[in-house]
Amino acid sequence: MILEALIGFTFLAALLVLLVPNEWAGRLAFALSAVPFVGSLYLWSRFDAAGNALTGGTIAFESRYEWVEVGGRTVSWFVGLDGISLPLVVLTTFLVPLAILSAWTPVDSRQSQFYGLMLFMEANLLGVFTALDFFLWFVFWEAVLVPMYFLIGIWGGPRRKYAAIKFFVYTNAASLLMFIGFMSLTFALGDSIGSLALPEITRALADGGLETWFGISPDRMAMVAFLAMFAGFAVKVPIVPVHTWLPDAHVEAPTPVSVLLAGVLLKMGTYALLRFNFTMLPEQASALAVPIAAIAVISVIYGAMLALAQKDLKRIVAYSSVSSMGYVILGLVVFTEYGVGGATFQMVAHGLISGLMFMAVGVVYNATHTRMVGDMAGMADRMPLTVGILVAGAFGYMGLPLMAGFAGEFFIFVGAFGAPSLPYAPVFTALAMFGIVIVAGYLLSAMQKTLFGPFRLETDYEVGPAPFHDVAPLAVLLAAIIVLGVAPDIFFEMIRDAAMPVVEGVSVDV
């Protein structure tokens, strides 16, 4: 029930915020969004899952009600948490209040709609990370698009409409591809499943429930479905070459939306990859290990090179997200404890760090109304605190030890380097690791140009220290990043617990 309460409350909060007058919306939304965070902390404290939810582990806060029966398959409201989803739930509920706080300054019109949509999106994100029935999950998965479309389209930058429609159509097309792939898979399972509950499907697949279906042999079916789903999720992640919607969306989106987009929405893709491709079809995944690892490495290096070429701070961070997601893919495909666990950890870590970066860039933008590297210099002179945190965040992005980013990346590297299941693992890993040099390159030079040196600003605005409610979320995020970096086990322990079954291939108990 508690999960229903969490999601339901968030929906109601969204509704309520939609109805209040603009001037209250910001504060009210912040207050309301604190509740889910507290709730998720409570979940954390009561968390009692063991193993992976899909492979017969004990699911925390499980609750299930039949919803629709279609074609001999029951679709049910089926939610629950395991060590992989809980950290992401906490991440979501943690980022949203901060994002809302960071919206107080930039969002100056139609506030109640803005904050309402933010909360509506949060509710759906929670749904995505808690749902354990395919259709329920898919409902939330698609429902996230709607608020995002408005958030980018209404409050975005000059090319917001183009960015919004591009994001909207592109990701929806991907979802449809994934849907067809997954559905064919479930039907090829024939009578071995009676519902669309993910654990059941996973088990059926593990038990070799695939039958020849309209002349498609089981192996072929599994491979086709894997590819379709991989392609579908790849767009969401996004990984090269289906990443081009991301920079546009990021650049046009208002700061708080970018925060959630980079912080949580991208994680939907990697989360789905982990849940579907790598947990349900491990054989296909390891059969395709080399091409996938190649894609991952390309994403890392190519994304970093693109970031190096950018002049817009937000674009830089956007492309570096592509780069970081490449690490996650690499971690997933190697099927080792540190690889998969590190990838999941990296989702959280990158969520926090990229959130911090976008937020900090946003604070600078609020003051200068430009994000172009050439337009400003020596910002450190005028807004020392903000710049200080921005620098710290940048070093976190570069994988500075004792910050969350390093933990995630190191776990992935150390898990990937000696991975038995991936041929040429050391080569791939070493290549991917070179990303840490390029990221240092573009972040440092961007900082040097914009933050340091004598103060200069092309746009004529008075730049002073940022207001408290702008800096506070930055500080909180930074603190969280450092805590996670010093003590990664607070999440990594449960993640490992849930990741091990994936590594061992789907276990067939229960």
């Binding site: 693109l306 070093f395 190191f410 040099v437 004598p454």
Partner: protein, 674 residues
Amino acid sequence: MVDAFAYVPAVVLLPFFSFLVALGAGKYLPKGGAFGGIAATAGSFLLSIWIATAVAGGRAYDETLYTWAAGDQFELTFGALIDPLSALMLVIVTLVALLVHVFSLGYMNDEGETGLPRYYAGLGLFTASMLGFVVADNLLMAFMFFELVGLCSYLLIGFHFREPGPPSAAKKAFLVTRFGDYFFLVGVVAVFATFGTAAFAGEGSFPALAEAALAGSGDVWTPGGLGVETWFTVVGLLVLGGVVGKSAQFPLHTWLPDAMEGPTPVSALIHAATMVAAGVYLVARMYGFYALTPTTLAVIAFVGGFTALFAATMGVVKDELKQVLAYSTISQYGYMMLALGAGGYVAAVFHLTTHAFFKALLFLGAGSVIIAMHHNEDMWDMGGLRSKMPVTYYTFLAGSLALAGIFPFAGFWSKDEILYEALVHGLNEPLLLGGYVMGLLAVPVTAFYTFRMVFLTFHGEPRSATARDPEPVRWNVKGPLTVLGSLAVVTGFINMVPVQKVLGLEGIDYLHRWLDNEWGGIEGLSSHHYADIGPYSSGYIAGGEVPTVLVGAAVSLGLALAGLGLAWRLYNVASPTEHTAKLGGIKDVLYNNYYLDELQVWIAYRTEDIAGGSDTFDQGIIDGVVNGVSSVSLAGGSRVRRIQTGLVTQYATMLTLGLIALLVVLGLNGGWFL
């Protein structure tokens, strides 16, 4: 009695707290939090002494203190490893850090710098990171603090961020070292993948496992069926990448001269005791691993020897005080690398120690001069400061003599031992011998540029108004100088191997015995163990050991004096001139540091070009395809809608045709017309 080792974490944490204090409350504290830093480093210093005595008391310490990530594959942990080496290093680092803090009172506070809290916070974090690195008991922890050291150098080099220079220098320092650290990180990961652990000491430590694997007992993971030996060499070289970066060895040394943009005390800290020392210390720390792979050792030795000579030549033509010192640092660390490569573990640590003191001394002395000269560093504007600032002069002179390796100053002993080791081991190791030769050639050059610096700065006639009337410096400058000056004189006596060998006085090679666990230490981390597993055998010239010692010493001393003499002739005159014209074409090459910076800049630009190209590709091709799909489908749509002509008769026609088409399709499919 309470266990000294219980306070090992405190050694690291005290400066860290001073960092927090200075960062949080610095602007409310007197002197911008300086006293906090001084107190913290003093505390760490005392604790280090205590710990050292405990080690001298025959004990050692190797504990895992904190589990960072408890995986089943590997456990990633933090721990403290206290053996003679780390104990010694602790003392050095804390002492230098303490003196630098004190000196900063004079250099920063009295000069009315702004942003002092940031400065002292940086110093504190810097010290803490370095200490954490020193006590690290495994490679991962070492890497982490290694990186934090890099961060601190970035922050401190870029301290004057409002000027254009420092930020770019800071960026360069971090980037170049990051490039080295990339290989280091790959090495760390490789070590984990290979051995499943990264511990330095003990039975389960990776050097021990490597030794076992080479001995044929116990198997380790190697990629793609690579031979164990080859793979270990690769791993060793990978880790070496970080060393080359941080210890500013060729070709990653370019960041160090630029790092002079930082405040002088910071330079002292970076060069003497922390960042640059870290690289060499790392090799010494895991020497048990390097000793197993001759190829790596040879590479280390050659790179070291080459760097020693190469950097020294560049130091010859520099005009700024700190620039000369910068290149001397590179050169001196080259010597240490040479020593390590030559199997002279003790010699390297010895030189690390002496160099820490005299290089700190020289930098602080330079700082004092810079105060006096109102932050003008050009030696051609100085001269005749000897009479104006005697304390600075004599301490600086002591440091210079040590640096030049003049008997009996500290530098002489350590450098002599390095060359000796390189010689005796190099006689049947061509690569090593090459390193030795270059090291030897570097001796006179070192002496020359050192004393060129001394004479230009302190001798002759004042060449500028400020030189005529320099600003006086206070106790907080003179104090540290005095301490270090005396150390620069005496440190050499802790390890008078030549004397021992010649006069046969047993037991005065205290450092040897110290590092040989004679008083206490950890099994497997002792110099003789390294000698045992090391690949080298000693050969002697002039028949026998003693002559070799004497010849070697005589040669190096003679060369040093020659260099000094040349400097004396050229520059110890009332109004010296540059004389660089004599160098002819080489001059420009040296002035421009062999154009290596240009090379790196060129590489950076090419990288940016590639990035730009890929951006065009991304926007044009990849995104073009995406947008192309949408425009194509829209075009298709506007074709389709044209069917709807609005003429109802045509509708009827198309309707009929459609129906007929349908009939034909089904008819053929169903075979009605047969």
